[in-house]
Structures are given as C-alpha cells and as structure tokens.
Amino acid sequence: MPLEMFPRQSDDASDEDIVRRTLLDKEAFVFLIERYEAKLTRYLERLGLNVPEDREDVLQNAFIKAYKNLNSFDSTLLFSSWMYRIAHNEAISFFRFKHARPQVVLHEERETLMTELRDDTADASLFTEARLSREELAKAFQTLPQAYRDVLTLRFFEDRSYAEISDILRMPVGTVSTLLYRAKRALRAALPATFSL
C-alpha cells in the first residue's frame, strides 16, 4: 500500500496493512501497540504475571521483539496469533529466568470455564447446584501442568479457535485438541470432591 493511501483514520486499517506501513514508517507501530496493549496485558495476567511492572516489562519486550521481527510475520497467519505467540514466549522466558511458577488468579473467567466443564459432564445438575468459589477453581487450575493451563487459557478465556491456538503455541491442531481434552479432565479431577464428577 503506498504511503499516501494509508488511512489516517487507522481504526479501519487491517493489522496486516499496519504491519506493511510500519516497515516504511516506524511510528505506525503505535497503532498496533494501541490495538493489542489491553488484550495482551489481560492475557499475560491470565498466564500468571500478576505484578504490573513485570507485566509491562514483558509486554514492552514482546512489542520490541515483534518490531524487530516484523519481516518474519507470515501473512497466512492472523497477526493476532503471531503477536500472542511472541507475548506467550516472552512470558515463558520471564518465568524461566525468574525460576518462578506462574500464580494464576481467575476473575470473570470462572463462569466461562465452569460452563465448559459443566457441558462435558454426565450429570450437569450437580454442577449447577454446587457453587465453586473463584479461589477453589484457581487453586485447581494452578495444579495443572503449564501445557494444560496454556490451552485452557487460550480456548476459554481468550476465545481462540483450535487453529489459532495451534499457531500461537506452535503445535498441530490435533495436539491442541488432545491437550484440551486432557486439560479439562485433569481440571475436573483437581476440583474438590463435590465437583469431581
């Protein structure tokens, strides 16, 4: 897209257009930062980055890395998947560097996940009657292996499709599907006895 044709009102520009524009003019990168800052902040928090300063450091590094690697962006992927992948990898690197295990805090996501677990159970009424506290769910979620938490977070909290999760986590779609199945089963098993159906 020629420079003069780039919409000044960038709400309408696609991510891919902004990427092309950024390669010509670095200031256009601001539009992408604006577009993804809130989403990625929320995602990093869901991954267990609870300290705002740490979260912002990771986010800054993710955007810098994205800028430096803009030419590797593959237009057959969604830009959002590519950006989530970079943020995800930065978060994992951060936890490794700090030798820290992510501390997951669940907020409004609780209901989404509960609905999903309920749909898969034989006796839904037990789930409906029993109320599970946010802390109980977070505690059970915390016990899951990282790979399980990653797929559950992307699928149920970030509303990503299987194909998008495959692109973000760099694994085949079939593996995503298997991991999700196992993750839900593991989460049910980790819930208090009342909820383990």
Partner: protein, 126 residues
C-alpha cells in the same frame, strides 16, 4: 481510544516502546534472513533424508552380502538411519509451518522417504 493520527498516540507503553526503538536505533531484521533460515531448515531436512537413504542402502548391502547378525556395521547403519529420521523430524518442525504437521506424519514421512530413496540407491548399486 480512537486512533486518528500519530500525534495522538501518546499512551505510556506506546511512547516507551517507540523511544526504545529510536534510542536503540532498532530496525526490523531483513526479510531475506528469515527466508534463508527457513530454506536452511528445509535443506537440513533433505540432507537428513539423504543420509537416512544412504544408511538404509548400506544396511541392505550388509544384509545381502555380509552375515548381518555378526556385523557391527549393520547396527551402525540402522543407528544412522534412526538418527537421520530424528534430525529430519526436528528440522522440519523448525521450518515456518512445520509445527502444523502431526508428529506421526513427519516422522513417518522422513522414514518412508529415506527407505524409498535408500532402496533406489541400493537398486542402482550405490
């Protein structure tokens, strides 16, 4: 927030990221680097298959011409074949879209390609 012009992009994070880009004189890495990297992994995959083919061809030769039960060379070539399949799998996974292929498909593909090419090499006496 509505984005209307660069001048209005003044959130803290965006400012900080831009100032780091400007301060560090950062520029996007050239596209050819990524294309070359991707090609390198495909070439390595092809070399792994070629090595596997050679190993299979040598194994066939050992089986046909030497008492393979006593031959350490047979086991050596079978080991090389297994290693080349492993290398082929790892290198394909490192290509741009390699992660999309299921493990079984990649490993089986590398093995079948090695076996087919190896059988051809043996048939023509190489």
């Amino acid at each position: 927030m509505t984005m209307t012009s660069y001048d209005q992009q003044d959130t803290c994070l965006a400012k900080r990221v831009l100032s780091r880009i400007e301060g560090g004189h950062l520029v996007p890495r050239p596209r050819w680097e990524f294309i070359a990297r991707n090609c390198l992994f495909w070439v390595l995959s092809a070399l792994a298959v070629a090595l596997g083919a050679r190993a299979f061809s040598m194994s066939l030769f050992e089986v046909e011409n030497v008492d393979w039960r006593l031959s350490a060379a047979s086991f050596f070539w079978i080991g090389v074949l297994a290693l080349s399949i492993g290398i082929g799998y790892v290198t394909v996974r490192r290509t741009d879209h390699g992660y999309r292929y299921p493990i079984a498909v990649v490993a089986l593909g590398a093995m079948l390609a090695s076996l087919a090419l190896g059988a051809c090499l043996y048939a023509v006496g190489l």
